[in-house]
Subunit: 341 residues, 2 copies
C-alpha cells in the first residue's frame, strides 16, 4: 500500500497532535492524557507506524545493541549461553550482536575498534584471552561502554564476570572418583593460559592433595577442550605402562573424544577406565556410556551475564560485581569402581 515509510509526523498528522505528543504517548504514557493517548494509539494502528530505531537511538545517544564476543561461534558449547543472553536482552529492547574473536581477519585491533561504543552499549565477552592491549584501552567509567565476562574471564582486571565455580567442579569430580575407590587419577586439561584450564587444574590438584593421592606429570594430559584433543590424550594414555584407573577431562568434548578413541582400541568405559567430563553438554546424557559429568547452568550463565551488563548500562551503579554459579555432579555410567578392587 504505502511505498513510503510512515514516520512519526504522519501519525501526528493523523491524530491531530504534535510529534512530541506522539513520542510521549509511546514512551512515557503517563505524561499524556487518557483521551489523546488513545487517539494517538488509534492513529498508530491505522497508519501502521513503527518507530525508527535508528533515529531514536541517535537522538538518545545509544545503540540499542549489546555485543557478544565469542571465541568460536561454531562451538556448540556456547550455543546455550548465547541463547540465555538473547533471552534476557530481547525482552529489554536490546539486540544482540555476535562477533567471533577467532575468525580470520578478527585481529585484536579490529576487535578494539568494535568496542568504541558506536556499535554497542555494552559487551559480554566469552573470551578470557582478550589482548591486554584492548583492556588497557578500555577504561570503564571513562565513558567507555561496560564489559562483563561470562564463563571465562581475564585475570588481573577489575572487570566484573559471571562464571561457575570451576575449582569446586573439579573437586566434585575427583571426590566422586575417590569415593568409587580410585587412587590413581589422571586429568586432561584445557588449552594453556585459559582461566578455565588453570582453575580446573588447580581444583584437581588440590583435591588430589587433600586425599593424599599422587599427582603425576605423566597422568596430566594437555588438551584444548576439543574432541580431537581428547582422542589424542587417549593415545597417550594407551602408551603408558602405568595407567591411571580414572581420568577427569576438563570438558565433555574431550571426554567423548577420549572414550571414542579407547573404543577403537577395543577398550571400554567404565570397565577399563572411568571417565568424568565437565559441562554436561546435550550429548553427554546420550553418549555411550552416558557420561558422568559436572553440570554447568549454561543458559543461566548467559542470562545472569546479560542482566549484570544491562544493570551496568542502565544505572551507573553496578549492583553486583562478580557472580559465581554453583555446579553439580551428574553421575551416569562412565564411572565405576576400579577393576582391581
Amino acid at each position: 500500500m504505502d511505498r513510503k515509510t510512515v514516520t512519526i509526523q504522519d501519525v501526528a498528522l493523523a491524530a491531530g497532535v504534535s510529534t512530541a505528543t506522539v513520542s510521549r504517548a509511546i514512551s512515557s504514557p503517563e505524561k499524556v492524557s487518557e483521551a489523546t493517548r488513545s487517539t494517538v494509539m488509534e492513529a498508530i494502528r491505522t497508519t501502521g507506524y513503527q518507530v525508527n530505531v535508528t533515529a531514536s537511538n541517535l537522538r538518545r545517544q545509544r545503540t540499542g545493541a549489546i555485543m557478544v564476543l565469542v571465541p568460536d561461534l561454531g562451538n556448540p558449547f556456547f550455543s546455550r549461553i548465547l541463547a540465555g543472553i538473547e533471552n534476557a536482552t530481547a525482552t529489554r529492547g536490546y539486540s544482540v550482536l555476535f562477533v567471533d574473536t577467532k575468525q580470520p581477519g578478527m585481529e585484536p585491533e579490529r576487535i578494539v575498534m568494535h568496542l568504541n561504543g558506536t556499535r554497542a552499549d555494552g559487551f559480554i565477552s566469552l573470551d578470557g584471552a582478550l589482548a591486554g592491549d584492548f583492556l588497557s584501552r578500555h577504561r570503564p567509567g571513562g565513558g567507555q561502554p561496560p564489559l562483563v565476562f561470562a564463563c571465562e574471564w581475564a585475570e588481573g582486571t577489575d572487570l566484573p564476570h559471571v562464571a561457575i565455580n570451576n575449582q569446586s567442579g573439579a573437586s566434585l569430580a575427583v571426590q566422586h572418583l575417590v569415593e568409587l575407590g580410585h587412587r590413581r587419577i589422571g586429568h586432561v586439561t584445557g588449552p594453556d593460559g585459559n582461566v578455565l584450564t588453570t582453575t580446573r587444574l588447580e581444583g584437581t590438584r588440590e583435591s588430589l592433595k587433600a586425599h593424599a593421592l599422587p599427582i603425576r606429570d605423566d597422568w596430566f594430559f594437555h588438551g584444548d577442550f576439543s574432541l580431537q584433543s581428547g582422542a589424542e590424550a587417549a593415545e597417550k594414555w594407551l602408551k603408558l605402562k602405568d595407567r591411571p584407573s580414572a581420568v577427569f577431562c576438563a570438558s565433555d568434548q574431550m571426554a567423548c573424544g577420549f572414550i571414542s578413541k579407547l573404543s577403537l582400541h577395543g577398550l571400554s568405559v567404565p570397565q577399563d577406565v572411568s571417565v568424568v567430563g565437565f559441562d554436561d553438554i546435550d550429548i553427554a546424557r546420550h553418549y555411550i556410556p552416558p557420561l558422568t559429568t559436572i553440570h554447568q547452568p549454561r543458559h543461566k550463565l548467559g542470562t545472569k551475564a546479560a542482566e549484570l551488563l544491562l544493570s551496568q548500562i542502565e544505572s551507573a551503579s553496578p549492583a553486583v560485581r562478580d557472580e559465581i554459579l554453583e555446579v553439580e555432579l551428574i553421575v551416569r555410567k562412565s564411572t565405576a569402581a576400579p577393576a582391581g578392587n
Copy 2:
C-alpha cells in the same frame, strides 16, 4: 582523556576543512584530492575519531544489520551455519542479529514486528515454518527488506533459498545400506510439516521403491531431529517383532539417541542393526561407533545464504534465486552387512 565523544566536526576543525570533505575522504576517497585526504586522515588519527554508525545509518536510510531467525539458538546443529553467516557479513560492514523464533515471548506477531525494516536491512531465516501470516505481510519488492531462507525454506513462496539436496542425501543413505546387503530398511523422520522431514522422507521412499524394497509403516518412526526422539524411536524399534536390519535417521542427533538407547538394552551397532545419520555434526566422527552419515556443508550454507542476501540488498537484481549444495556420504563404522547374511 576526552570524555566527550569526538565527532566529524572535530575532525573537520582539526583538518581545517568542512565536515563534507571529511565524510568524503572516508567513504569516497576518489572525490578528494590526495593532499587533503592525507590531512584528513592525519586529523582522524590525532583526534581518535570513529564514525558514529547510528548517525550514518540514519542518514543513509539503512540499519547496517542483517537479522537471522533461528528456530533454536541452543541447537548445536546451527552453530556452524551461524559462523558461516557471521563470516561472510562481518567483512562487508554488516552486523549480525540473532533472534530465536521458538523463544517464549517470540510469538509470530513479534517476529513480524522485527521484520519491518527499521531493525535490519535483510533477513536470513533458518526456520522454514514462518507463519504464512508473516509471509503475506512480507512483500519483497514492495519496499520490504529482502529475506532468504537457509537450510529450511517455506514451500509455496517465491522467496529464494539456499539449501542442500535432501532427496539426494536420503538416496545416498539408502543406497549405501542396500549395497551392504540390507533389504529391510527403516527411517526415523523429522518433525511434521518440516520441509527437511518431507524431502528426506521422499528421498527415502523413492530410493526404497527404486530398489524394490518394502516400505512399511511400522518401520517409519516419528521423530523431531532431537536426541530424545531418536531414543524414543529405538524403543519402538525394540518392541517390533519384525525389525528392519538398518535404520536411516534424518539427523545425527536422532542417530545418536537411537544408538544410545539400544546400547542401554545391550544391543550394539552395527552388529545388531546398521544406522545412518544425517548432517555430519562434529560428534559424529567421535561417536561409538563413529557414525556413517550424510555430510552437509554447514559453514558454506551460511556463507552462501549471506552472500545471496547481501547481493539482494546491495543491488536490486538478485543474481541467483536458489542454490542447492550437494551432500556427501561419509562411511564410518555404524553400518555393516546385515547379521543374517
